[in-house]
Chain length 317, copies 2
């Protein structure tokens, strides 16, 4: 089992489905694909193709052994609707590129000013701020390039649908909008609804987008689409609730990032708004909501989606 | 005639085609469309939809009365192949959003550190660095959202083709890559080939991309596509050569930006590499190359493209 998917707590609740086995193969496929695609013929000096230093910064930020949760959600949702596998792999990588660019920009001095991510210097520390800025910009463009191959491997209607979903999830009414609200909320007192609104954009939109992009690789009935929309919304929010819990209950080493950072930054969190116990309960309620939604969809196959939902809520880091 | 297209020098060389008249109507259409689309239901506070402050920064950077050269190129190329007009308008606006985001990020302290653009404070001065960063990010996402409407107005194959062209033009082997090379070349001595390579990415890719996106809104023969590729490459490069000339021959007021900036920043330019006279001659050669390429395409209608090529080379600011 790949160490990046530590689903110990999940194994207790799941049926015979082996998430570790399922995920390890798909993570390998995603790693291989990212390794191949974030490699736009870099040459030294000034020649055609992407400049070498920029591509190095892009690769540094992407090929860093993240959990690849978003790609796994894309692939699991794709499998639940017998989706086009080449399209799903591209969608999985595209979502990860958007996630990676958001971390690069988020770490910059004008945003969170983080110097370490997953134990490595952040991109602007390693490559300078200007290159970090451009690497993030180029990763976003590359995400859309991955979704639109001209080699006939992905139907054009699927390409268009994937670009539409990704653009919405990443933009001002999605991830970027959520980050803007997050910035504005430092030092503010938020009620639960305001906190939920923020996180539905900041983290939720791209997680839900991952599920919907997977679904867009196949055919879905209106009932299935509704089910996946509800599933994606619930696990998107659950992810953030659990993140907030882990931020106060887990040490930095286990977490792989600085614990207690939200409180230090005076950022409102689920724990600060609901308290620890109610937050943990809320996460379980969201898991139940997600699983119930899936049942309504009458899918052929939802083992992986269900297992990922369990993992999101019961993870230890 | 719209003051933003001052084609005085053009009027001398053109035939009966009235670029001012042609451009004014299309600029109005583009302004109206941008005004409508960069307006993602902004609400105050934390509610669904894009946060108000972020949208204000996006609008501030886009709705600022630029020349809209790229949109005009999209529309002119679209008309040359009887392209789908709804698709062309969306493509025109999408290219402008990419151009606008690149200026926002380019002006930031870690890049060019500019405080004024077209006589107004730059976005990070007006809204803060973090909001400028996010506004640029959100504008790039919005560009792809504009290209992928789900209302049936643009064929899905066209949507996919437009996303593909825009992603390539904007990414690491296009605009973002060119900016990275530009950063790395400060204080360096470049030969003419290296300078051309840099500008083909930095400015040329998006200008050529504009022409190709316009063409993608209609049907093009291989011969026509070749012609437009050559045309786009020539005017893309000509634009930069003329920019370099104007930087040393024109005062800041006429130019609308700080003149002599490249020399101060020790950036290699066509004037520094070729000298002023040879640069001016080169711009005219590129214009001739562009016009000859168009003739090879056997288009029904190239008046607007030809007039825009003249304007790019013979503009006074």
């Amino acid at each position: 089992m790949d160490a990046r998917v530590k689903s110990d707590s999940f194994d207790v609740v799941a049926s015979s489905f082996d998430l570790g086995h399922w995920a390890a193969r798909r993570q390998q496929e995603v790693e291989r694909a990212l390794e191949h695609w974030v490699n736009a013929d870099p040459r030294e000096g000034l020649d055609h193709g992407a400049p070498a230093e920029l591509v190095r910064a892009m690769r540094y930020s992407v090929l860093d052994g993240g959990k690849r949760l978003r790609p796994l959600l894309v692939l699991a949702a794709g499998e639940s609707v017998h989706g086009h596998s080449a399209a799903a792999l591209r969608a999985a990588c595209a979502v990860e590129l958007i996630h990676a660019y958001s971390l690069v920009h988020d770490d910059m001095p004008c945003m969170d000013n983080d110097v370490l991510r997953r134990g490595k210097p952040t991109v602007h520390v390693q490559f300078g701020e200007a290159t970090a800025l451009l690497a993030g910009d180029a990763l976003q463009a590359l995400a859309f390039e991955l979704l639109t191959p001209d080699d006939g491997t992905v139907p054009e209607a699927t390409q268009a649908a994937l670009c539409r979903l990704l653009a919405r999830a990443a933009g001002s009414a999605g991830m970027a909008g959520g980050q803007a609200i997050d910035l504005a909320s430092v030092g503010c007192t938020l009620n639960e609804k305001q906190l939920r609104d923020m996180h539905e954009l900041k983290t939720g939109a791209l997680l839900q987008g991952s599920v919907l992009m997977g679904a867009a690789c196949g055919r879905t009935s209106p009932r299935q689409l509704d089910a996946l929309i509800a599933f994606g919304a619930a696990i998107g929010l659950a992810f953030q609730v659990v993140d907030d819990i882990l931020d106060v209950t887990t040490d930095s080493v286990t977490l792989g990032k600085t614990a207690g950072k939200d409180a230090m930054a005076a950022k409102p969190t689920y724990v600060s708004v609901l308290g620890l116990e109610r937050s943990a309960q809320y996460a379980q309620e969201l898991l139940a909501t997600a699983l119930t939604a899936l049942e309504r969809g009458e899918f052929h196959q939802t083992d992986a989606l269900r297992a990922l939902a369990h993992m999101v809520v019961n993870r230890s880091h």
